[in-house]
C-alpha cells in the first residue's frame, strides 16, 4: 500500500529522533520527534519537554507526603486554549502515576511541554518527550512510558503513527501508552471516532508492538549518553 506521505506499509513508523539536555537551565529536557527533517518528504511531529525539580514548592501547593506535579502545555503558536488543557490533563494522568512522588515530599516537579511542529498525533509525541525529559532529570520513576497512535482508515486498515492528513480521513483514532515492565501495562487509552470492539483490540495489539520499538529507542538514546559521560568520568579519575 501507499500512504499519503509516501510510507509503504501500514505499520511503518516514521523515524524517531531525540536529543536530551538541550536546555541548560532545566534539570532535565528532551526533544522527541516522529519523523526527522533529514527525510523531509515525511512530515514531522516534534515536542520539547523540560522538567524542573524536585524543587522548592509554594506553601499553597505543598503536599506533606508527596511531590506536587505541575504540567503545562504550550502550543507552537499563540496562547494555550482548551485544546492544550485537554492535552495537559491526558498527559498528567499518564505520567503522574509513574513518578515515585512519595520519595520527594514537599517539593515541586514542573513539566513544561512546548509543541514545535505538528504532523500527526501530538499526544504520543508529548508522552515520549516527557519520558525522556524525566529520565534526563533523574526523577525517580516506577517505570518508563512510551506512546504510539493508530488510525483506522476508510478501508479498515490500521495505520500506525498516522500523519495529519491520515488523521483527517480516518474513521477512528486510538492513542495508547505502555510502560516498560514485563507485563506492558496500559497507561493511556484515548479513542475517538466510530469503531468496533475487535478494531479497538487490534489497534491495542499493534500499538503495543510498536511501543516496544519506542522503548528500545529511548533506551539506546539514554545508553549512548550515559556511556559517554561515564567514559569521560572514568578517564578523568
Amino acid at each position: 500500500m501507499k500512504r499519503s506521505d509516501g510510507r509503504t506499509e501500514a505499520t511503518q513508523l516514521r523515524a524517531f529522533a531525540a536529543s536530551q539536555s538541550l536546555l541548560n537551565r532545566a534539570d532535565g529536557s528532551a526533544k522527541f520527534s516522529f519523523g526527522t527533517h533529514l527525510n523531509s518528504y515525511l512530515g514531522e511531529s516534534t515536542v520539547v519537554a523540560s522538567v524542573v525539580g524536585p524543587a522548592e514548592v509554594k506553601i499553597r501547593d505543598e503536599k506533606m507526603d508527596e511531590a506536587t506535579v505541575e504540567l503545562i502545555v504550550r502550543p507552537a503558536v499563540g496562547f494555550p486554549t482548551t485544546k492544550e488543557k485537554v492535552l495537559e490533563r491526558a498527559l498528567r494522568q499518564t505520567m503522574e502515576p509513574t513518578i515515585l512522588s512519595g520519595m520527594m515530599p514537599r517539593t515541586l516537579i514542573q513539566i513544561v511541554v512546548q509543541i514545535e511542529q505538528v504532523d500527526g498525533n501530538i499526544l504520543s509525541t508529548a508522552v515520549n518527550a516527557i519520558s525522556l525529559a524525566m529520565l534526563d532529570a533523574g526523577l525517580p520513576m516506577s517505570s518508563l512510558v512510551a506512546s504510539i497512535t493508530a488510525a483506522i482508515d476508510q478501508q479498515d486498515n490500521i495505520l500506525l503513527d498516522p500523519s495529519s492528513q491520515e488523521l483527517e480521513n480516518a474513521t477512528s483514532v486510538h492513542t495508547f501508552a505502555f510502560d516498560n515492565t514485563s507485563s506492558y501495562n496500559l497507561l493511556l487509552s484515548h479513542s475517538a471516532g466510530a469503531f468496533s470492539e475487535d478494531q479497538y483490540f487490534s489497534c491495542l495489539e499493534a500499538c503495543k508492538h510498536a511501543s516496544e520499538r519506542v522503548h528500545a529507542f529511548i533506551r539506546t538514546a539514554v545508553e549512548k549518553k550515559i556511556q559517554k559521560e561515564y567514559q569521560q568520568l572514568q578517564s578523568s579519575s
Binding site: 538541550l22 536546555l23 537551565r25 532545566a26 527533517h37 520539547v48 524542573v52 522548592e56 513544561v112 511542529q117
Partner: protein
C-alpha cells in the same frame, strides 16, 4: 538587591574598572558564537545563535500574504515577536537569579515564585518584542518595504519574525538581533506573477518553484544591536548574567553596516552623563560595524558551502537541535 552579594558586586565593578572581567575578558571582548541557518524546514528562513556557554536564540521567519493597511497601501510590513521558553522564567530562581530583569522585579517580593504568578514573563516578552519591532518595523531597518507590496492598494507580503529564547546567559537582545539578521539572510520569498485584467483590476499568482524564490531586498542594510552596560565608570559589551545584575545603566544601539544609527534604547535605572553617552555611541558604532562584517562573512561562507554541496548532490545535513552543545 537580592541574588548577588555586595562583595560579588564590588568584585565585578572593580574588574570592569581594571579592564579584566571575571571571565578574563576585557571590556570590549565578545564571547564566541555558534550559528546555523535554515534549520526549520517549514519556515521561509531560520537561524539559531548560541552565545558563550548559555544564551540560545532561535529565530524563524515566515512570510504571508495579507491585505495592505488602508493608510499605507503601497508597502508591506515586518511583525516581530519575542518569547521566552517558559521554563526559563521559572528556573532562574534556582540558579541564582541570574536574569537581571527578574531579579529587579523581585526586590519587592521576597518569594521568587510570586513573580511567576504575575505577568513577569509577558512583560519581558513585550519589552524585547518592542525593542526588536522599533528597529525592524520601520524604514531604518533597510528592507525595501515597497517591494513587499504585491498589488498597490490590495495585497502585500507580511514578514513575521518569531524569536524564541531557549536559554539565557546574558546579552540576549544582541543575540536576538544577530539571529534575526541571520534568519532574514536565509529567508526566501516566493515570486509572484501579476496579471492585468484591465479596468484597474489585477490578479496575481504565487510561483511555488523553490528555485524562483528570492531574497528580501535591502537585506544587507539590516542593523544589529550593540548593548553597552555601564558598570562603575566603565562600559562593557556582551555582559554576562552577573554583570547584568551589576549594570547601572545600559544602552542598546542599533547600527547598520554603514555605521548609521538605526535606534537607541536606554535601559536600567541609572543615568548616563552626556559625555559618556557620545563615547558609548562611538564604541557601539565601531563594534557594530565589525560585528556585521564578521557575521556577513560567516553567513556567506555557510551559504556557499551549502550551495557547493547541493551542486555536488551531497546530502545537506542541518544539525539544528541535535548539535552538540
Amino acid at each position: 538587591m537580592p541574588y548577588l552579594s555586595q562583595a560579588e558586586r564590588d568584585y565585578i565593578t572593580e574588574g570592569v574598572q581594571s579592564d579584566l572581567r571575571a571571565d578574563g575578558r576585557g571590556r570590549l571582548d565578545y564571547r564566541a558564537l555558534v550559528l546555523e541557518t535554515g534549520i526549520i524546514s517549514q519556515a521561509n528562513g531560520s537561524a539559531r545563535v548560541r552565545l558563550g556557554d548559555g544564551t540560545d536564540v532561535l529565530v524563524g521567519v515566515k512570510v504571508e500574504i495579507d491585505q495592505v493597511e488602508p493608510d499605507a497601501d503601497n508597502v508591506g510590513k515586518v511583525v516581530c515577536n519575542v518569547e521566552w521558553y517558559d521554563i526559563l522564567s521559572f528556573c532562574f530562581h534556582y540558579v541564582h537569579g541570574y536574569d537581571s530583569n527578574y531579579a529587579k522585579r523581585t526586590i519587592s517580593s521576597p518569594s521568587a515564585s510570586q513573580q511567576f504568578e504575575g505577568h513577569g514573563a509577558d512583560d519581558l516578552n513585550n519589552e524585547l518584542t518592542q525593542a526588536l519591532q522599533r528597529v525592524l518595523g520601520g524604514p531604518q531597518c533597510g528592507i525595501n518595504f515597497e517591494k513587499l507590496c504585491i498589488i498597490k492598494g490590495q495585497q502585500c507580503w507580511i514578514v513575521y519574525i518569531d524569536a524564541m529564547i531557549l536559554d539565557y546567559s546574558g546579552n540576549v537582545l544582541d543575540t536576538i538581533f544577530m539571529a534575526t539578521k541571520a534568519a532574514l539572510f536565509n529567508t526566501r520569498i516566493p515570486k509572484t506573477q501579476i496579471q492585468d485584467l484591465g479596468d484597474g483590476e489585477f490578479e496575481f499568482e504565487v510561483l511555488d518553484d523553490v528555485e524562483d524564490a528570492e531574497r528580501l531586498d535591502g537585506i544587507e542594510n539590516i542593523p544589529i544591536g550593540v548593548t553597552l552596560n555601564k558598570i562603575g565608570t566603565g562600559h562593557i559589551i556582551d555582559a554576562s548574567p552577573l554583570e547584568e545584575l551589576c549594570t547601572e545603566a545600559k544602552l542598546t544601539i542599533a547600527v547598520n553596516k554603514d555605521s548609521q544609527i538605526c535606534g537607541i534604547q536606554k535601559g536600567a535605572e541609572g543615568g548616563i552623563e552626556p559625555g559618556l553617552m557620545s563615547e558609548m555611541i562611538q564604541t557601539a558604532k565601531r563594534i557594530g560595524q565589525s560585528l556585521i562584517q564578521q557575521l556577513d562573512q560567516k553567513l556567506q561562507d555557510e551559504e556557499r558551502q551549502v550551495d557547493e554541496k547541493r551542486l555536488n548532490g551531497e546530502n545537506i545535513e542541518k544539525l539544528g537541535f541535535f548539535a552538540m552543545v
